[in-house]
Amino acid sequence: MQDFDSLKNMWQEDEPPTQSTTAPAIGRTTLNTKRKLQRQLLFAMISLLLTALAIAGMALFGDFNFQHWYSYGAMVLMCLICLAQSGVIFFTYKKISAIDETTTPGKHLQQWESYYSLRKRQNAIIGPLYFLLLNVALGIYFIEIFTGRPLTNILIILFIYCAWMLFAYFYLGKKNQRREAEKLQGIIDELKGIENQLTSNR
């Protein structure tokens, strides 16, 4: 039977090995929650910017010779959607960068909570809006592409395109959105739980 003081002695006598280190050498760890998220966001932002650049490049130098202005308009719209989405990601990146590891635990937990709440809102509103606008732009783009083609070909392509998009949005997208929402809510609840542990009077 050990009392608390014996446990304390046991703890204090223990000298767990720690690596000797110099500053930047302590680089690779498997956790990196914040930095991992930042890297993912940065990658997504750069990918979208490159996509916007590629579309703009095609519109300017692609020699498509479109007859209608709205075909170019659709490309500009796609470009703007990609830029807007990368702007949203940049905002998220700034939000996560602002999380302060040196503040009090209560505030630190609240900052993470606020980040995950933002992600939840983005998934619920901006995700579907991005999908919808991108499809509107593609729809406009297809008008001229399809002009003069045999009706059967148009119908087949449209059927395949719409079927895939509906499947992607209503099945894959919704499933993924639900799973993501549950995951984020789980994290938010967990953070709230820890926050309660700190603030409760017992």
């Binding site: 767990p16 280190t21 110099t22 500053a23 590891e101 635990p105």
Partner: protein, 163 residues
């Protein structure tokens, strides 16, 4: 003193205590190593924010507490349950101090997240005033908590030590 030198000094002084805090939090040596590294990466990245309002120790422990608290994000990362076969295996071997300490870390990791960190600092003999500063809990509230956690930890340890 340049940042590199200052950092090395801080690491030498505090890494051991932080490692024990992380060991108590996770109950797992590999995860504790990761958390220790994560803490000191955050220390390195935020050294310019240190204003000297509290001691370096208080500041670093706060970074460690924040790193630990925001770590357990999914079930797969939660500490392993302290199962009877594990405890039995400990007793099958010669009952060394090392095994007792391992059991102590595992028992601490059974407590609620915030409690693990508080009790680890108590075991480290940090003054209550400093623990209150690190966790931003009032001293009175902290005393109540510590009293409860001490009792809880002793009970858990003795329960498993008897197995």
């Amino acid at each position: 003193m340049n940042q590199q030198k200052e950092f090395t000094g801080l690491y030498t002084q505090y890494a051991n205590g932080i490692k024990k805090l992380c060991l108590g939090y996770t109950g797992d040596a590999a995860l504790a190593d990761d958390l220790l590294q994560e803490t000191f990466i955050a220390v390195w990245n935020n050294m310019h924010k240190f204003r000297g309002d509290a001691s370096w120790g208080t500041w670093i422990y706060r970074v460690a507490v924040n790193t630990c608290l925001t770590y357990l994000r999914s079930n797969k990362n939660k500490p392993l349950e302290l199962q009877e076969p594990f405890v039995a295996a400990l007793h099958d071997e010669v009952n060394t101090k090392e095994q007792e300490v391992q059991l102590l870390y595992k028992c601490i990791s059974k407590l609620a997240e915030a409690d693990r960190l508080i009790i680890s600092m108590v075991l480290e003999d940090k003054p209550y005033e400093e623990i209150a500063l690190i966790t931003d809990i009032t001293e009175n509230n902290l005393r109540v908590k510590i009293h409860r956690i001490k009792k809880q930890l002793t009970e858990i340890y003795n329960r498993y030590a008897r197995l």
